[in-house]
Symmetry: C2
Subunit: 156 residues, 2 copies
């Protein structure tokens, strides 16, 4: 059984690997993204400017987690948002996602985050179970567990 | 019938009004927040630093919208997140929420946002209908309309 690869924060120099993984992720789910050159440049800028924090697993990287941070309104903490979590198909089910999440939560706590948000599709039952095992809830912790929280969006 | 009040962006000087409205909002939904003095200071800092954009309706303010912006990964746009939308109970059903949302979407477009996200509770049927009328969807626009997108969170 392959060992769980090491997880490390990405630097701007990792932008090409980050862009490659994100492009593969979006291709798999048929979600539009930028052309690969522009996506690489975008990743480089966002990592360099501290606008996104990326964790990479493996060498060469076989998975990544993308975090965004913003100062919370109702506490002095940061809020962390896990925007992307991806593992290449051939390496799934080997603990890489769990290793990325453990590092992501540790890093978020270290930075001063008091909570972490994610969005997940109803049909993506495996992902929902994965996040539930990690302590994520899609209902208000003080409310009715059957009343879920929905994520909604629109283009502008 | 009362006229729909004017909507304007808040400045750091509006922090006390912003904090009062947010405190009332959280009290109504029994959600914890900071003590009012600390919340006022927090709002002042976040507005001043451009970390949050607040729209206020009425004079004195009777409703607010709170927006957060971040550079998107998969486009050159910004992503906008509507974190809070509140109207004082006695003024509900008079178009204030709609006026705030119209301004919020116009301002987000002006800033360069390509999309806007919100979270809404399943049980909050009025809010869900309100956002649906405004074009928000809680399913993937390219996917099955019965497969919803969930918002999940955990404390760290």
């Amino acid at each position: 059984m392959p060992r769980t690869p090491q997880v490390r924060p990405a630097t701007p120099e990792d932008a090409a690997d980050v862009a490659r993984l994100l492009r593969d992720f979006n291709d798999e789910f048929e979600t539009p993204t930028l052309p690969i050159k522009a996506l690489t440049r975008r990743c480089e800028q966002l990592i360099d400017g501290g606008e996104m924090t990326v964790l990479l697993a493996g060498d060469p990287p076989e998975g990544l987690a993308v975090l965004r941070f913003r100062p919370a309104i109702h506490s002095e903490d940061l809020d962390a948002y896990l925007e992307e979590l991806y593992v290449v198909p051939v390496r799934r089910g080997q603990g890489i996602g769990g290793a990325l999440m453990a590092e992501a939560m540790a890093l978020a706590r270290e930075r001063g985050a008091g909570r972490m948000d994610i969005n997940v599709d109803e049909e993506d039952v495996d992902a929902r179970r994965f996040y539930e095992r990690l302590g994520f809830r899609n209902h208000d912790p003080d409310g009715d567990p059957n009343e879920r929280m929905f994520f909604c969006e629109r283009e502008l």
